[in-house]
């Protein structure tokens, strides 16, 4: 490889680019196919061989939107944003405590947080159901806000802690000597350094909250249903509706897809800050 002549090398790079493109398109092909299918008539959706060219229609997307999609969307947005905000509210001080001001025993807390992520969420679903029923939280967005916060908090603390470790210790000491209290320290000295990392963390929380399925399906009914619940309503036991299903899947995923596309640079930069200290 090292002995390749410069001209050949340039050609090699070009073919590598083409190969990368082909691999990328093959990899996301199922998704591209879903987007195509969302614009098909049902009859075009299941044919053998599959149809690549057809007259596009907005009928399916229209059906989904008029089928009561918006309340689910606003529930999802509410739950996602509020739980992510809560994760940051609880998580930032905790990550600070675990990284910049650790005392004996606090490192065990880190392990504890992480270990809660390993518990199978199915194991506690019936108690959760009973508890939310007794506290009148069943079928409310608040049950999901609480559960998603606790679901994402361990990971967030763990990620943010490693970002906090990037903050030069001397800066904090200097700040302390100047008499800055914790909120000031956080705002003036720590935040500017760790902001990209926190943004990346928040994005991950947004993705996981938006896409969560199990709690949503089991703990909500009519009032608090989120987007994944709406989606499974499109699987009917009598008759296949692929085009409609694809349209629903596309609309359900679109918000977080857009957020992810816009924020992907944050994600890479945040994660590369030294993710695994």
């Amino acid at each position: 490889m090292t002995t390749v002549a410069p001209r050949k090398r340039a050609y090699g790079k070009g073919s590598l680019t083409v190969a990368t493109w082909i691999i990328a398109i093959l990899f996301v092909f199922p998704l591209l196919w879903m987007i195509l299918t969302a614009f098909k008539q049902e009859a075009d959706a299941y044919t053998d061989p599959p149809k690549l060219f057809f007259t596009p229609t907005f009928e399916q997307l229209g059906n989904v939107l008029s089928g009561g999609f918006l309340p689910y969307l606003s529930n999802s947005a509410f739950v996602t944003i509020l739980s992510t905000a809560l994760v940051l509210l609880f998580g930032v001080p905790a990550a600070y405590a675990l990284s910049l001001a650790p005392v004996k025993g606090t490192s065990n807390a880190l392990g504890f947080f992480l270990s809660t992520k390993m518990l199978p969420i199915v194991a506690a679903i019936i108690p959760l159901y009973v508890i939310s029923q007794n506290t009148e939280l069943l079928d409310t967005v608040w049950a999901l806000v609480i559960l998603y916060t606790s679901m994402n908090l361990p990971l967030a603390i763990w990620m943010m802690r490693s970002f906090f470790l990037e903050v030069p210790h001397e800066m904090i000491e200097a700040g302390r000597i100047d008499g800055a209290n914790l909120p000031t320290l956080l705002r003036k000295i720590i935040m500017p350094v760790v902001a990209p990392g926190i943004a990346a963390t928040a994005l991950i929380c947004v993705i996981f909250s938006w896409t969560e399925f199990f709690y949503a399906v089991n703990l909500t009914a009519a009032r608090a249903g989120t987007v994944p619940v709406f989606l499974v309503g499109f699987i009917t036991s009598e008759g296949l509706y692929w085009a409609q299903l694809s349209a629903a899947a596309l609309l359900a995923s679109l918000p977080v897809m857009i957020v992810g596309w816009i924020a992907q640079n944050h994600l890479v930069r945040g994660l590369s800050m030294g993710a695994v200290k």
Binding site: P102, P120, I131
Partner: protein, 310 residues
């Protein structure tokens, strides 16, 4: 409740320094941790205690009046249940294979992306998208438009009438999960690649080290922390896989693709057997703790891991 504690050398040194400063400072410094700690304990541990409580009862939701204490009966039933063992094995297989394959693919894609070329931003955007769609949507998508034996794309590509979901149930589920998680692995590894100091690589180049040697002796060690993080996070999420199995194969045919989360769900929401499903939940938690303390200790030499009752 069992916990897994992880501490890094850095925090250790700090901790020792803190000890000398006395208790009041320590208490004050613990304060920012408390809200998160209390919140997580309340939301995750209280329901779990209730699970333990239920696991000692015979309680079937659809047979009212049947609820009574049975001691360890549920546990005995679970251990003599062959399906539980099958599900356990499937869970391990699913997790190990998916994490490994997604990691390899992610590494490959990340290396392809870690250079400047035409349309790199677009390609990266394309590649991360499977991670951004709802897993439920992904599962349904694969089940219908990909795997359907008559109208699916795989049928079209291979020209066979293979019924993927019943002939290769576990592999089909794995394909979907790998597809969903590869982008995440890729992003983490890409972050690792881009955080490499460019001057070190250039120095290696000047020294005449081949690309492969540079990769093995400089890049891989640098990446190891990122690979470990990717493995750990991937394993944590994939071991809990539910959506794909629930929506694609319903654990079948037979119990060929049943994993533990799905089996517990079945016991709870099809059998309505609260006692037995709770006992399974408790057993899974204990098994997870054992794996977490022993296997992770081997895997992550970076951490000093100590298991214990807290």
């Amino acid at each position: 409740m069992s916990t897994l504690s992880v501490s890094t050398p850095t925090s250790r040194t700090h901790a020792k320094a803190e000890e000398k400063r006395g208790l009041s400072t320590a208490a004050r410094r613990r304060l920012p941790l408390l809200p998160a700690l209390i919140f997580v304990i309340a939301v995750t541990q209280l329901p779990f205690l209730l699970t333990v409580f239920y696991s000692f009862q015979s309680w079937n939701l659809v047979r009212p009046g049947s609820r009574h204490f049975v001691g360890l009966d549920n546990y005995i039933d679970v251990f003599s249940d062959t399906t539980f063992l099958v599900a356990l094995l499937n869970t391990v297989l699913l997790t190990v294979v998916c994490v490994f394959v997604a990691l390899l693919l992610g590494l490959g894609l990340a290396i392809l992306l870690d250079r400047k070329f035409l349309g790199r931003g677009v390609v990266r955007t394309l590649l991360i998208t499977p991670f951004l769609i709802l897993p439920a949507a992904g599962a349904l998508l694969w089940k219908t438009t990909m795997f359907d034996p008559t109208y699916g794309l795989l049928h079209f590509v291979f020209g066979t009438d293979t019924d993927w979901l019943s002939e290769f149930p576990l592999a089909s589920v794995m394909a979907q999960i790998v597809w969903q998680w590869t982008p995440f692995m890729m992003l983490l590894i890409l972050a690792g690649l881009q955080s490499q100091a460019k001057d070190v690589l250039e120095a290696a180049n000047v020294d005449g080290a081949g690309r492969w040697r540079t990769f093995v002796s400089i890049t891989l060690p640098h990446l190891s922390r990122f690979l470990q993080l990717a493995t750990l996070l991937g394993a944590i999420y994939i071991v809990n896989s539910f959506d794909a199995i629930f929506l694609m194969t319903q654990g079948g045919p037979g119990t060929a693709s049943t994993n533990l989360p799905y089996y517990i769900y079945q016991r709870a929401f099809e059998g309505f057997d609260v006692g037995q499903s709770s006992a399974m939940g408790v057993i899974v938690v204990i098994l997870t703790m054992i794996v977490a303390t022993f296997a992770l200790r081997l895997m992550f030499r970076t951490f000093s891991v100590s298991g214990g009752i807290k």
